[in-house]
Symmetry: C2
Subunit: 299 residues, 2 copies
Amino acid sequence: MDEFALIDIIVEAMGDRAQGEWVRLGPGDDAAVITPTSGFDQVASIDVLVPNVHFPAQAPAFLIGYRALMVSLSDIAAMGATPRYCIVALTLTEADVGDGSWLAQLSGGMAQAARDSGTYICGGNMTRGPLNIAVSAHGEVARGCEIRRSGGRPGDKIYVSGPLGGAGACLRQDMLLPVKVDAMNELQKAYYKPQARFDWQQGLSSASCAIDISDGLLQDLGHLTKASGCGARLIEEKIPLTTGASLADALNASDDYQLLFASEQPHPDAFHIGELCTEKGIWLNGNSIDTKGYKHFNA
Amino acid sequence: MDEFALIDIIVEAMGDRAQGEWVRLGPGDDAAVITPTSGFDQVASIDVLVPNVHFPAQAPAFLIGYRALMVSLSDIAAMGATPRYCIVALTLTEADVGDGSWLAQLSGGMAQAARDSGTYICGGNMTRGPLNIAVSAHGEVARGCEIRRSGGRPGDKIYVSGPLGGAGACLRQDMLLPVKVDAMNELQKAYYKPQARFDWQQGLSSASCAIDISDGLLQDLGHLTKASGCGARLIEEKIPLTTGASLADALNASDDYQLLFASEQPHPDAFHIGELCTEKGIWLNGNSIDTKGYKHFNA
């Protein structure tokens, strides 16, 4: 199939997600055109997924597409921003292209994730080479109101937006494959259908700092405390676990894309798991943990 | 080297190009934050370069980086927009990473292209896998003033912004390698250091349609006429050639990233090469040419 037939497949799969509302011009020109909201800043991030690192090569294409879009959008959620649009660069082998059905499924998964998050996929690029999916994700936040990693202060309470460890447990228990799009267990859903937590945008507005958990609680808390110039004390019993996940899954292997944030304010809808503190480092029930030593925790 | 040491190399190479002016927050958080200009729309595009398709794997990393940024920005120039920022996703093999010196050169080339075009590289992503460079390029244009491919009308004069065929001639004459960053001939410069034509932004404001030439004059003129619902008549003698390039290089192999546009207005600084016409198709000195048959022209 030639490039233009493949692009037609993608654009058809995008359906209502290619253009509309703030996207004035979608795919088909040199660039897309998006109208920003007056008084808001643009928030931009890019993520790449490659097979057998970020997803099993044999996974259903629909789930690969869904996950690719959501993990990229999660960075936008972590800034406290509203998602607006994504542009996607696909590098595909001849085998990936085939008769176009794999690509249609991949695009369908992306379109579903765009629908679930209220965003558009308004442009992209396709080239031949080893499979590589790059998603550039874009959102908006009221000027000056983005939540950075660096704003945390000792005494702020630490929260997570939901249970952790599901994606890690799925991996550890070798449940990534086989998987069926319409019959996933909870751990498979945690891995393949993470939800960028845009529903927390309002809640984040009083946060002092935030990050999304893509590399396990300890490592991402390490990024947050380093940027904020402080340490953190966690209470093991308070860390919420996905059913079937272990504490080690949550601490080390979690890429559930929950939000991790700190705040002076109470957040009754979130899980309070500890406090930021003056002393550098991370403590779990009073014991120091090396965030780079998280591999010791592998179950 | 670990990921964080590599990111430090990139950010250091970016220097003043990582943050400033409209980029309120550069690399190091979940996403970058950019302040748009009031009354302007955002223009967004993404391009991917893979080795031995878009550049020789053995080319100097500085030139690979320079070219990668400029070809992506060229799509922004083709909309009549001002460049604002890029975000870059690098997928690198262990060999590419090495001691970090290749990456420093690559980043240095990107930073130079950002400097030459007045833009910032305010974020990115790095992962391991077969070499792949994705650049998401972003600009701004006064609301409703973007120049699309679709606005051309029969009778509009067709222009190009500069001589064509240099990059194609470099390829045809097997001059891509060896190449030295500081001692390139004109054809090598055309290939490795294309210039996104932001200097034409003012001139484009009276254009009816525009595209950048990345696949040869005929193919890109085909995109322009198809979108505009018309045909085109070219005058062979008027097509400007880079010294050392043949007509075939210009028609078929050109990826010099000059702008191709049409206008009712005179553009004395551009090269007038023909007219849009009612009959579909492309004519060269009155003879019909199949834009998909451009390979017949290979020298």
